[in-house]
């Protein structure tokens, strides 16, 4: 029988199956044990694998991430949960100065096969600092991989790939999508390769690049503009933010000649700028209009009463598309 899972269930299953298969995999974080994680991502895993493998740590991100680096260097595969992306900052030093650089500094003698999972993004009416999407911080640091799934299927496959990756992976889980919908997820252990984008919708007139929760916004805009204006948009889920799937980006733009990037992170120095730069380098002569970015603004993610105004909407994406056509 085919089963449908939410993203959070798919994530739990990925960890569960990997832990069953590989005794080196262990989970660490605040409230991941008895409580099963504040979003229930690690539900029942403590009961199944015991407190040596599912560890409720003290409340200390530098400690958690730093210790995980050591665990990883010495034969284990730690999967760290940080409760919300903004609470990663106390551990930032450990991520950028150490997790990212250990292979480099030791000339490949040691490496850090670890995963840092964390919910991110707005749209859940969370309190202050519960809605950030600062993926650029990590994409900017050589030595890290940065992944952000948008579906339960991809979440499971990418997380398994992340746990098998020899390098540290920052695994960003769009909080808004945790329980937003269900989809068929295979029961077996499968991988979705890191660094590969997916064409979610084929189209001929314009390419939209997005990831995480914004993928659905992009897709909604594409559907609506097709209906209303007959514009055929190709929607591409980048899935991995670092390394970007350059070929997928360039191929699509060559085909459509127009592009939009949609992300909820702040506009300035967001990943949109990087994607546009790739398009300039590799597909400039195919462009019929400048590539637009529909993004969050250069302001702290606002309080929840106006949070929705911060986030790109299908309407804003459609306006952007129209501007690209009327350029």
């Amino acid at each position: 029988m085919k089963r449908k899972l939410t993203m959070i269930q798919a994530i739990t299953e990925a960890m569960d199956q990997k832990m069953a298969e590989d005794s080196r995999v262990m989970l660490l974080g605040e409230d991941v044990g008895v409580n099963g994680g504040v979003f229930r991502a690690t539900e029942n895993l403590l009961q199944k694998y015991g407190s040596d493998r599912v560890v409720d740590t003290p409340l200390a991100e530098a400690g958690i991430i730093g210790a995980a680096i050591g665990l990883a260097m010495n034969g284990l595969i730690p999967v760290v949960e940080i409760q919300f992306l903004a609470f990663i900052y106390p551990g930032f030093e450990q991520i950028v100065s150490h997790a990212a650089r250990m292979r480099y500094r030791t000339r490949g003698q040691y490496h850090v096969p670890m995963v840092i999972r964390t919910p991110y993004g707005a749209g859940i009416r969370g309190p202050e600092l519960h809605s950030e999407s600062v993926e650029t911080f990590f994409a900017h640091v050589p030595g890290l991989k940065v992944v952000a799934p948008s579906t339960p299927y991809d979440a499971k496959g990418l997380l398994i790939a992340a746990m098998e990756d020899p390098d540290p992976v920052i695994f960003l889980e769009p909080t808004k999508l945790y329980r937003a919908f269900k989809e068929e997820v295979p029961e077996e252990l499968y991988r979705v390769p890191i660094g590969k984008a997916k064409v979610v919708r084929e189209g001929t007139d314009l390419s939209i690049f997005a990831w995480g929760a914004m993928l659905r916004v992009a897709d909604e805009a594409a559907k609506q503009i097709e209906r209303e204006q007959g514009v055929s948009c190709e929607v591409i889920d980048l899935r991995t933010i670092y390394p970007l799937d350059r070929d997928a980006i360039v191929e699509s733009v060559k085909k459509t000649g127009r592009a939009i990037v949609v992300h909820e992170a702040h506009k300035t120095a967001g990943m949109g700028a990087e994607i546009i730069s790739i398009i300039n380098d590799e597909a400039l002569i195919y462009l019929k209009a400048p590539v637009k970015r529909i993004t969050g603004f250069d302001v702290p993610v606002p309080q929840f009463s106006i949070e929705d105004d911060y986030l790109p909407t299908p309407g804003r994406v459609m306006s952007g598309i129209m501007e690209t056509f009327t350029y």
């Binding site: 003290p58 514009v231 603004f297 009463s305 129209m322 501007e323 056509f325």
Partner: protein
């Protein structure tokens, strides 16, 4: 283990003479403050359940810690609350309407009243502690007779910032009071799993500053300890770490289910029956002839009316407009933000796409 300082037993009896240290007026004010904030807290939970407020962090059970400590301050002192310390903020002069507003999702809810230094509720754990060292240091350098009081939980004492704050404060002898409400849990993690230290107070020794453990449900003990810490600070003798042992009856926040990790009903019932901070002060006041049922019902009625008025004020506050998010990011808006703002407020293009 350092002894637990207690003045008022759960039965409402004094275990030591406090003559000349605490007047009757203050005692009554203590009770009134605690009763008011308890009502405020319950109201907030109801508002959250009715969808009139966002996720809320309740504090019922911790009133003596918050009220007693904040009552030991004078208006120029700096208060650094966490997301759970609205009672302390209210006692130090924050308006209840602002606190409601904050939890209704308005940043304006954390504006400090004029001439008071009440910082916004700190969401990242332990990070405000170092600021309290900084403001206190500045007070000292500028010869201002003010202390800075930082609140935090037991979980916060695992973060690096806790240790850095204590260390700085010790080195620079800043007039900082570090006030830990040890309610036994950091979400689901009990203190026994948070740290191998038996107490939080003992950590003070590592930085060579005084560390005191008090019964956090005994407002007299909290207040007297705070007074001493404030006096020390003002006399230039530096910081104090206070560990107040207390318990929060409800969930971590309205989004949390404590039944998953503790025997919630039994534990809360036990604390409520045996150690409630309001109950014990009320018993004491009644024995002294300072409080009775009539006073209680009169007070509850006025307090309820005050809370309703604050709520009405918060709910009539103008709705946030999208453009508000661009305010106060910098002293002068950047061109990027200005352009983005006009993009946000302009109406979506209506015309179709040229063939």
């Amino acid at each position: 283990m350092s002894p637990l300082y207690q003045v008022l037993t759960p039965e409402g009896e004094l275990v030591q003479d406090i003559k000349g240290q605490l007047d009757q007026e203050t005692m009554i004010k203590m009770y009134e403050n605690m009763a008011l904030v308890r009502l405020f807290d319950r109201k907030s939970i109801n508002l959250q359940r009715q969808g009139r407020m966002g996720t809320y962090a309740p504090f019922e059970g911790q009133e003596a810690s918050q009220v007693g400590s904040a009552m030991a301050l004078t208006p120029g002192d700096w208060l650094f609350p966490t997301y759970r310390d609205h009672a302390a903020a209210i006692v130090h002069g924050q308006s209840m309407a602002r606190v409601f507003l904050y939890w209704m999702g308005h940043m304006e809810g954390s504006i400090s009243p004029k001439n008071l230094n009440i910082m916004p509720p700190c969401v990242p754990i332990a990070t405000q502690m170092v600021h309290a060292v900084g403001t206190a240091w500045a007070s000292k350098l500028q010869n201002e007779k003010h202390v800075s009081l930082a609140y935090f939980g037991d979980g916060a004492t695992s973060e690096g910032d806790f240790h850095e704050a204590l260390n700085f404060a010790g080195v620079f002898k800043t007039p900082t009071v570090f006030f830990c409400q040890n309610n036994g849990f950091a979400i689901s993690v009990p203190f026994s799993q948070q740290s191998a230290s038996k107490t939080i107070a003992q950590r003070a020794a590592a930085y060579d500053i005084p560390g005191v453990r008090v019964d956090g449900n005994d407002i007299f003990a909290v207040w007297l300890t705070m007074k001493k810490a404030v006096e020390r600070a003002l006399a230039g003798e530096g910081p104090t770490l206070i560990e107040a042992i207390t318990f929060r009856y409800g969930a971590h926040t309205t989004a949390d289910d404590p039944k998953k990790y503790r025997d919630q009903e039994t534990l809360s019932e036990e604390w409520r029956q045996e150690r409630d901070p309001l109950q014990r002060l009320r018993m004491y006041l009644e024995k002294q002839g300072l409080w009775d049922e009539t006073k209680e019902s009169e007070f509850i009625a006025t307090a309820g009316a005050k809370i309703d008025a604050a709520l009405a004020e918060a709910e009539s506050y103008p709705k946030s407009r999208p453009e508000d998010m661009f305010k106060h990011v910098y002293a002068e808006p950047t061109w990027m933000a200005t352009e983005q703002e006009s993009e946000l407020v302009k109406p979506a293009k209506q015309e179709g796409i040229p063939a």
